[in-house]
Symmetry: C2
Subunit: 334 residues, 2 copies
């Protein structure tokens, strides 16, 4: 299983091995004849450039580290897919790791990625506290935060305008005639959630709506937690005609709980999500939601990171994409 090296090719071609290197790297200081001849021999011998050795001297692996909480999450798997596509089209590959929402692991993974000499890191932090933990590494490796808004932190990130997205949601429900909208699943420790809640609050204020919250006391958003929360919520008197869920997974939990007690969506209650994960578009679910443009998020993140790597920029950039309303059938006029 030993691979053919540049030396083997040189020997076969009867040239020095630097000449082979020149043929391979597209250097101009070589005659077209020899280049063609050498390339031909490479093909015959099944030569494949050893990227590891090249990385060693070029001081660039053309590898991007991607740290997610979990690809086994419809939002991030979509992100991961587009990150790979975009990175590959730019000549990079990705090393993918899941932090499983464990900040200790996030730190370890930064260490690991640095050891692996990745050219840069795309980091989807599990929460607001992640930033402090990985801070020491940010001066050692170009890093782009993705998904999570770091507010005023002097680090590059790309995220969605969560504040604006929440406003769009409230305005939409308002137009449908809803005057009593409950915000469901607000969670501590996540700037994303914080901004969405603020957007909801601001819109309510402007529209003269009373604010109502159902706080998520769990450490993450998931269907299960959303369901448990909703179960409890539905055991109390309802003073709202619509629920605006902080995430689609929360909304799915609400849907499940509603199902159980025979509460019909959207007839008895309108339900609006946030994220537009693929589950939301499924038949029977058809959740109306605020979309995070995942493909765009991915490609902007990759491009920003590669720019940062190549320009060796020292500054930072905040790229905030605008979310859009996706109308399906979980919201109805009052």
């Amino acid at each position: 299983m030993k691979n053919v090296t540049i030396k083997d090719v040189a020997r076969a071609a009867g040239v020095s091995y630097s000449t082979v290197s020149r043929a391979l790297t597209g250097s101009p200081e070589i005659s077209e004849d020899t280049r063609a001849r050498i390339l031909q021999i490479c093909k015959e011998m099944n030569y494949t450039t050893n990227t590891v050795a090249r990385a060693m001297v070029m001081k660039s692996t053309k590898l991007l580290g991607v740290i997610l909480t979990s690809v086994n999450n419809p939002f991030m798997s979509e992100l991961a897919y587009h990150i790979d596509r975009q990175a590959r089209s730019r000549g990079y590959n990705i090393i993918l790791c899941n932090s499983s929402r464990d900040v200790e692991q996030e730190r370890d993974l930064f260490e690991l990625m640095i050891g692996r000499q990745v050219d840069g890191i795309l980091f989807f932090p599990s929460g607001a506290e992640s930033y402090e933990l990985v801070k020491p590494y940010l001066s050692r490796i170009p890093t782009i935060f993705i998904g999570e808004n770091l507010r005023e932190a002097p680090e590059s990130y790309v995220s969605v305008d969560n504040y604006r997205g929440a406003q769009i949601g409230v305005e939409y429900l308002y137009r449908l005639g809803h005057r009593s909208i409950l915000y469901f699943g607000r969670r501590r420790g996540s700037t994303t959630h914080q901004l969405r809640a603020e957007g909801y609050a601001a819109a309510c204020e402007r529209l003269g709506l009373r604010q109502q919250y159902c706080i998520n006391t769990f450490s993450a958003s998931s269907i299960k937690y959303g369901y448990q929360l909703a179960k409890q919520l539905f055991s109390q008197e309802r003073r709202y005609t619509a629920i605006f869920a902080a995430t689609d997974t929360n909304a799915l939990g609400v849907m499940q709980a509603a199902e159980e007690i025979g509460l019909r969506i959207p007839k008895d209650l309108s339900l609006l999500g946030f994220d537009n994960i693929r589950d939301s578009g499924l038949p029977r679910i058809e959740l109306t939601t605020i979309e995070q443009p995942k493909k765009m998020l991915a490609s902007v993140a990759v491009d920003t990171l590669i720019d940062k790597i190549q320009d060796e920029q020292t500054g930072y950039s905040h790229r905030i994409l605008t979310p859009a309303l996706i109308e399906r059938s979980s919201c109805a006029p009052v």
Copy 2:
């Protein structure tokens, strides 16, 4: 952003750099004092071993190449998650690439992975023809096929017993009283599909059931294609009380089409899937299905691959896992 090297540490410690290497690799030929002292200095200087350089001399990158058709597919994203976890627990990381069901890309990706000197490849082929295309590479790099059954090919793979799974499904529907079961979404060019269809046929034969098929003429299985197929199917007379879909995504398409024409599942029609992707467990969907044990599939695949790498085995192994019925609420007694 220049990283601290072993030489920097050696200088700071006043030893030769081979001594530092010994301290780091856990070599026994070094005194405990110096080891402790050097490790301490490494920590102070934020030294991180350059894995690329190490890989160069060790001739092992501790990297596994993972080639999937698309992580943006609930089945594979779950697989990818568990592959990462298992690989990491064994000291490996993964380079993830999506082939987008393009056999040309599959070939390119093998080339790429070999160039990157990954220690082995986990390959989820897009179809039966993939095997022929990547065959030339199999002698150059340890490879495990995952998901797709290669039948009698002398290559290692891990998959689920699709034949048995289909039988389990038919038997279950039979027990529910169904005597007229349509097999939906059978597709050419995939051994997986072939085996499932064979299992269905065998079970029907044994139970004295008439076989009915709805063939998938598209190149892949998806909700959309399933929906289109079902639309057409439902425009004809129904001579079955249950549909056994070749994949959950197909079943979801059937569900959507049924929804549209007011056909109630499971009241008017029982629906059984195959795969148990996460969508199937969602509220309102609750699809009864045959589960592919994804976590097991992932860990067995990783373990088999690593064994193959470390033992430099020349043989091959076929690992076939048994699927299980997951009862939810899309099937009812006749």
